[in-house]
Amino acid sequence: MNPIFIIIPFLIASLGSLFLKTEKQVGRINLFFSILGGGALIFYALPFGLHIRGKEISQWWLMDSFSALLVFLVAFIYIVTTIISTRYIGHEYEEKIINLHQYKLYFALFQMFVLCMILALATNNTLVLWLALEGTTLFSTFLVGLYRKKTSIEAAWKYMILCSTGISLGLVGILLLGYGAHEAGLSGENIFSIHALMESSQAIPHDVIKLAFIFLFIGFGTKVGLAPMHNWLPDAHSKAPSPISAIFSAILLNIALYAILRFKFIADSAFSDPSWTNNLFLIFGFFSIILSALMMLIQTNYKRMLAYSSIEHMGLILFSLGLSPIGAMAAVMHMIGHTFIKSTLFFGAGEILIQWKSTKVEKIKNMLMRARYTSALFILGILAIIAIPPSALFMSEYGMFSQAIAIYPILAIIIFIALGIIAYAMLALTINMIFATEKIEDNIEYKKERWNITHTIMTVELIIVAILAMWFTTSGGINIINNIVKDFLFIK
């Protein structure tokens, strides 16, 4: 199957959203095509991910178990986000927060945004990878600024300017790498083929590789939200509509990381020694964790809290990758677990936002009484994200620390303390929202919360996380993770 077919349902859904008349039709066409397209993608990616099918490499396409894993995650998050979007955005449409034009624009851009992510994962060409990543920025800018309020427009502005600049620098890295490959004797389109670069990276001059990798790391690292370049992330995540925050946090950051990892392989195999890139990963991962720990303490906004938690988890994944090769297994587990849990949390945040119309923690009181399902699922999600067993993150963080303590004991202890701070801060904020009681005089009448589709999805995701945690301990699970790691990590 030529992967170009995956474009079709996305395009139909996107165009359909623009041209259909009523909001009902738009919702239906999006649901239909996202379940169709997402289902097809899962169906397509699973055999690769489970190593039933081997790598498939052509001039334009590259599908191995690592990209298949991410395609699977994108497809899953895509389906659930579409379902949540029809509820969340539909609700805002009914409340007249957005108009029909914005409603249609949302779905049209959303489809193209996901398509760009899939393209970034499935391509074998560094420049297409770049175009797709830049495409995710271009298509999602108006999603961040959907509400046309001061804050959301400002967040969109920051997001676009920082990410575009960063990704432009990434292009410099790609071009330098292409130039190095040209020097190394590759010709034609091969100088931009990821696979060809991986195969023949030894011949590329080391100076060029180092320079190129620094550009790529800084450039795409901006999109990952690494510590000094993270500025856009909390704003964009907190001001975007909640389903978009979920897809940003759960999967977009991972895709930028995917790009960095592809180039890490090229750099490592060129040096035939991963320690240089590993050190970069360790430093940036470490500082991202520390920064989010410090910022977490002063948060007054639950969506920003979740955004900083994303920075922290990206830092953790980076740090684990820096402890390769064993740390890389922890990183993959962490990536999977984080995707499910963080999307759950943002969906929950969306429910809270719908009911209270505010993202400030101090405005939200007595959640347990007023929104019992949401609050129960939200606190379960928070427990999962701070890696309380049986969360899948517990498995990965355990794996990471067992490595880190052995190699970098001091750093490991500092990170441990930072994680403790983060856990404390997140729990304190959440408990405050859930259990703090309102003053008698503001006690207004409220309807009891009904179980709705969001809660179903959150439950399903949390159950998946628990099952994953079990599965990661079985030898079958370890094997599959190991195979994935082998596909993207250079091992001496």
Partner: protein
């Protein structure tokens, strides 16, 4: 045949064809303006009519007034005799030393000035004062142009310069010719220096000086200026196509016919070009004349610099280096500007220079890459010179408040910072050795300079529009980087990248319009809502 006959033929030809030149310009201009226009041969009849008319000469004039027309006409004819117009190596060719030529030109204009002063009328004095100012400003440029050329051709005569078969793969020649065209426009009292068609006291220069002349003397002066125009146009055409000249020692009647035909064609084409130019631009204010001559001087000076450097370094300076310099300079100028329009103009100019870089690389790449460079250049012009500035200025124009873009630094300091950065980049790049990139050093330097300047611009400028332009400058830097490293990209990708550029500019422009609506300003200092 003998060089004496050649020189005679040349002078006769010029004398015969000369009145046609101003007539042609008038005719084409009339057609361009939608009028029918007088016949191009009208000038002949005008001259004949003037010759038959009685002269009115003021009593207060001295012999200078009477001598001036003959000296002016004599200087023009002398030019027509010594310069290589149809033949090289004519019998008077040794006299065409550029200092002699400049001297003859000055003698002509000095007597014209004196003739204008002599009658003591107000207009004559005014015109003379203007003419001598222009002549003073013109002189160094003429000397600079011809000293560059004679240095490169190893001969101080214009004849020798043209004989040495100069070719245009050397950029100094193009620059010299551009400067020469600017000089020729001024020397012949054409737009934008003087308007030959009016007698408006505010603007006229040449016409003011000849205002007191009438009848035969006026005919002589008109004829002299027609000869000068013809000589200059043929000379410029000869610099562009030196191969069309005949050697005075070996030519035949057939050759001569061809050469004369070519000379007529040169005059016609250049006069049509002049008419187009004069229909498009307007005369400059007299006080802006110094700018005009500064431009001419800078261009001539740059030509000399390039010529000297390429002979000093052994490696000749190629066109792409010149255009890289233009790219960087226009970005540096953009750096200190505050008006959105000006910033976009400089941005468009730097993009244009990038397109020119791509075109000038054509001669140095493999055959299959040529088409890529063409596409690159064309799309750069379509997207970055036209579409992007249009989109941004269109949205910026809708909000009048956006025309001024404040910066954290004053313009002077911004330029200073830019120059410091350029020097830093130079020394940094010198110490980073990237294998094999030496060949394209200038391009690499340009690319890095643009990227760094773009990022700096995003930091020091306080306005969202400057941030957009900063981002676009970075993208331009990457475009140059493509040229410097891999040469060309696959076609689809190339289109994709241009598409991304336009889309980025479009989205950012829309966002900035929304910010302006919501915040009431575009100062990035006001974007502080999200500081929690």
């Amino acid at each position: 045949m003998s060089p004496i006959i050649a020189t005679l033929i040349q002078i006769v030809f010029i004398l015969l064809i000369a009145p046609l030149a101003p007539g042609l310009v008038r005719f084409v201009k009339a057609r361009l303006q939608g009028r029918k226009g007088a016949s191009p041969f009208l000038s002949y009849i005008t001259l004949l009519t003037l010759l038959r008319k009685e002269m009115v000469i003021s009593d207060v004039t001295s012999w200078i007034f009477r001598v001036a027309p003959f000296v002016v006409l004599g200087s023009s004819i002398a030019l027509a005799m010594i310069l290589p117009l149809i033949f090289t190596g004519g019998s008077l060719a040794q006299l065409s030393d550029f200092l002699v030529v400049a001297g003859i030109l000055v003698v002509g204009s000095i007597f014209l000035v004196l003739g204008g002063l002599d009658a003591g009328s107000a207009f004559g004095g005014m015109g003379s004062s203007r003419e001598i100012t222009i002549a003073t400003l013109l002189e160094p440029v003429v000397i600079l142009i011809f000293s560059t050329l004679s240095f490169m051709a190893n001969s101080s005569t214009i004849d020798g310069i043209l004989k040495s078969q100069i070719n245009f793969s050397e950029p100094y020649l193009l620059l010299s010719v551009i400067a020469l065209i600017l000089v020729a426009l001024a020397e012949n009292a054409r737009y934008p220096v003087d308007n030959p068609a009016t007698h408006l006291e505010l603007t006229m220069v040449h016409e003011a000086m000849v205002l007191e002349y009438s009848g035969k003397y006026l005919a002589l002066l008109e004829y002299a200026s027609a000869i000068k125009l013809t000589v200059f146009s043929v000379l410029i055409a000869n610099f562009l196509f030196p191969a069309t000249l005949l050697n005075a020692f070996s030519w035949s009647a057939g050759n001569l016919l061809g050469a004369v035909f070519l000379a007529v064609m040169k005059i016609i084409v250049i006069m049509i070009g002049l008419a187009f130019l004069e229909s498009m631009i307007v005369k400059m204010r007299f006080y802006r004349m110094s700018e005009y001559f500064s431009i001419a001087f800078v261009v001539a000076f740059l030509a000399m610099l390039v010529a000297l450097l390429s002979s000093y370094n052994d490696t000749p300076i190629k066109y792409y280096i010149i255009f890289s310099i233009f790219t960087v300079i226009s970005v540096v100028l953009l750096f200190g500007r505050v008006r959105l329009k000006a910033i976009l103009r400089y941005y468009a100019f730097s993009s244009l220079s990038i397109a020119a870089i791509a075109l000038s690389l054509i001669s140095m790449v493999r055959k299959e890459e040529i088409i890529h460079l063409w596409i690159f250049a064309i799309f750069t012009i379509i997207t970055k010179v036209l579409a992007v500035p249009y989109v941004i200025s269109h949205i910026g124009h809708a909000k009048k408040s956006l025309t001024n873009l404040p910066s954290f630094l004053r313009p002077g300091k911004s330029y200073f910072l830019a120059i410091i950065l350029l020097m830093l980049i130079y020394f940094t790049l010198k110490n980073i050795s990237i294998v094999g990139l030496t060949e394209w050093n200038a391009l690499l330097y340009t690319a890095v300079a643009l990227i760094v300047l773009g990022i700096t611009m995003m930091i020091i400028k306080r306005n969202i529009f400057s941030q957009i332009v900063g981002l676009l400058v970075i993208e331009n830097g990457i475009a140059v980087f493509v040229l410097a490293t891999v040469g060309s990209l696959p076609l689809m990708i190339e289109f994709g990248i241009f598409g991304v550029t336009v889309a980025t500019a479009y989205i950012l422009a829309i966002l900035s319009a929304q910010i302006n609506d919501l915040y009431g300003s575009t100062d990035t200092d006001d974007l502080r809502e999200l500081s929690e």
